[in-house]
């Protein structure tokens, strides 16, 4: 594993050390839901194409040197067919530049919203804990829906004999667990090692270095960070099960779950850790998780800075008055109903992080007033933003006082955010065959 994600960079010397250890596969994650619903909604990558290209080129060279498969999961942040195609384009471009002749396996994870609506109506889609309420229309509303592939689909891609595997949405662990499972290694160890390794060297000291090596066998796995000054200890490795997991002992995957309650972590030396005792518990039904993102409106944002002590002290009252007056102006002049739009001022320096949950607002020298307008169309969002503008510039706390002026950091003051998206699904889809929801294509390039 060169790093936690393509786009985060990796230590070249550590990668060279990893290659010298003769790995059987190089795996890297290309994304997750962590950057929010817009990337999935739009079907685009969060990372720059130029950065992704530099890093992917380095890994394509490493693959050619090592003569083993290179796998990327969740290509292009969200793993839709559009970001898989983006990654495929990059791969072809780099292969041409390097003069590489490569077999590329492409695994696609996008789902047809209409077919998902039908699957929901026929009872093949069920809710996970704390899922939003949905109906069949929810699926049709989504601009993109992906299913998370597991080890079976990655194994099918590896079996094509591909040099490079470009996968759409997969679980973070599947791209690492697939090969050891195919080779008959311990199933609990395969998934546990994959979970520990999926964030690169985040399971060790000096986590920014990225590169780690995992050796799987029939009883367990051994993890070794490749960078100078980077050490894995029983504490850093076992603590990594806490990270981003709502349950630190159980991890659900397609086809079962990992249970690490009885895992034992042993230091082999001052930098490597051996783990045994993890369990894989197969499930009766084979399910894959779904992610879907739908249009949630259009936004326009504005920013003003309050530095006058009197206004800093009374910022909450000032903001509430602006929200009320501007709402009423929008209803009056645009003929919108109150529920059709939203105007919110978040006071940065006061309670912008927690809102009503803030217990320690403190005393600020200055406050940033972030105006957020949400409306059903881009034109309306921008119209409302322009109505909010004069309030943020000049609104007085009382009618008696001299007209104040607040600092605007930019012109135009209204920044159109365009379409915004929202996550709609926290559900699983039952499959009769692991490949049922996925498509595998093999391309011989060059």
């Amino acid at each position: 594993m060169p790093s936690g994600a393509l786009g985060l960079n990796y230590d070249k010397a550590a990668l060279a050390r990893g290659l010298a250890a003769k790995p059987d596969l190089i795996a890297i994650d290309g994304g997750s839901t962590d950057s929010g619903p817009a990337y999935l909604g739009l079907g685009v990558s969060k990372y720059s194409r130029a950065s992704t290209k530099v890093e992917w080129k380095g890994l394509m060279q490493a693959r050619a040197q090592a003569g083993v498969p290179l796998v990327i999961g969740t290509s292009g942040t969200c793993g839709t067919d559009s970001t898989v195609d983006w990654m495929l384009d990059l791969t072809r471009e780099i292969a041409d530049e390097l003069g590489q002749k490569v077999r590329i396996a492409v695994l696609r994870s996008s789902q047809n919203p209409k077919e998902m609506a039908d699957a929901f109506e026929s009872g093949r889609i069920t809710a996970l804990p704390h899922a939003p309420d949905i109906d069949a229309q929810t699926f049709r509303d989504c601009t993109n829906i992906v299913a998370l592939a597991g080890a079976e689909q990655i194994a099918a891609a590896i079996e094509t004999g591909a040099d490079i595997i470009i996968a759409g949405r997969t679980t973070d662990t599947a791209i690492i667990a697939a090969l050891p499972l195919m080779r008959g290694c311990h199933a609990g160890a395969a998934w546990h090692g994959a979970k520990i390794g999926e964030c690169g060297a985040l399971c060790a000291t000096n986590p920014q270095a990225g590169v780690i090596l995992i050796d799987f066998d029939v009883e367990g796995f051994t993890i070794t960070p490749m960078a100078d000054r980077s050490r894995a200890t029983p504490h850093t490795v076992s603590a990594h099960m806490l990270y981003e997991n709502s349950d630190p002992f159980i991890l659900f995957e397609p086809g079962g779950h990992l249970d690490v309650t009885d895992a034992t972590y042993t230091a082999l030396d001052d930098r490597s850790v051996r783990v045994t005792g993890s369990k894989w518990v197969p499930s009766e039904a084979y399910t894959v998780k779904l992610e879907g993102s739908a249009l949630a409106g259009y936004q326009c944002v504005l920013m003003a800075l309050l530095r006058d002590t009197h206004y800093v002290e009374h910022a909450a009252e000032w903001a509430a008055d602006i929200e009320a007056k501007c709402r009423s102006k929008v209803e009056d002049r645009l003929g919108l109903a109150a529920e059709d739009f939203r105007i919110e001022l978040r006071l940065i320096g006061q309670n912008a992080s927690f809102g009503d949950l803030e217990t320690n607002p403190g005393a600020s020298t200055e406050i940033g007033a972030l105006g957020i307008v949400t409306a059903p169309t881009e034109a309306l969002a921008n119209e409302i933003g322009k109505m909010l503008n004069p309030y943020l510039l000049h609104h007085p706390l009382t009618e008696e006082e001299e007209q104040p002026t607040f600092a605007f950091p930019f012109s135009p003051a209204e920044l159109s955010r365009g379409a915004i998206y929202g996550f709609r699904l926290n559900h699983v889809l039952e499959l009769s065959d692991p490949m049922q929801a996925f498509r595998l294509e093999v391309i011989d390039h060059g």
């Binding site: 817009a38 939003p132 806490l242 949630a296 949950l357 929202g422 926290n426």
Partner: protein, 100 residues
């Protein structure tokens, strides 16, 4: 009376998917771990987040001196009312609680 953040090594928060938030309290040693286990009730965590204590999962992991709480996100990640895309800041709500 000390605040949680002054007693332990680190409190961190992070999304566990778009619908859940998880908060890890690294107590540092067994003494701090015992103190956190006995004085930080799930009800107080629920009150800090104005949520139902029964919605909160609590883990006390003595081998790591870690107390972990997972709860449904105050707002779904990236929704119009969400303030923190990655769940980065929520740890402070617990770190600033006074330990009884």
């Amino acid at each position: 009376m000390a605040r949680l953040g002054q007693v332990v090594s680190k409190v961190r928060s992070k999304n566990a998917g778009p619908f859940w938030l998880t908060i890890d309290i690294f107590c540092g040693d067994s003494q701090a771990f015992s103190q956190v286990c006995s004085s930080l009730s799930t009800e107080r965590v629920a009150a800090a987040f104005k949520t139902d204590p029964f919605a909160i999962k609590r883990f006390e992991i003595d081998s790591l001196n870690v107390v972990k709480f997972s709860l449904p996100r105050p707002d779904i990640q990236g929704s119009i009312t969400d303030r923190d895309m990655h769940g980065a800041s929520w740890a402070a709500l617990l770190a600033e609680l006074d330990l009884n």
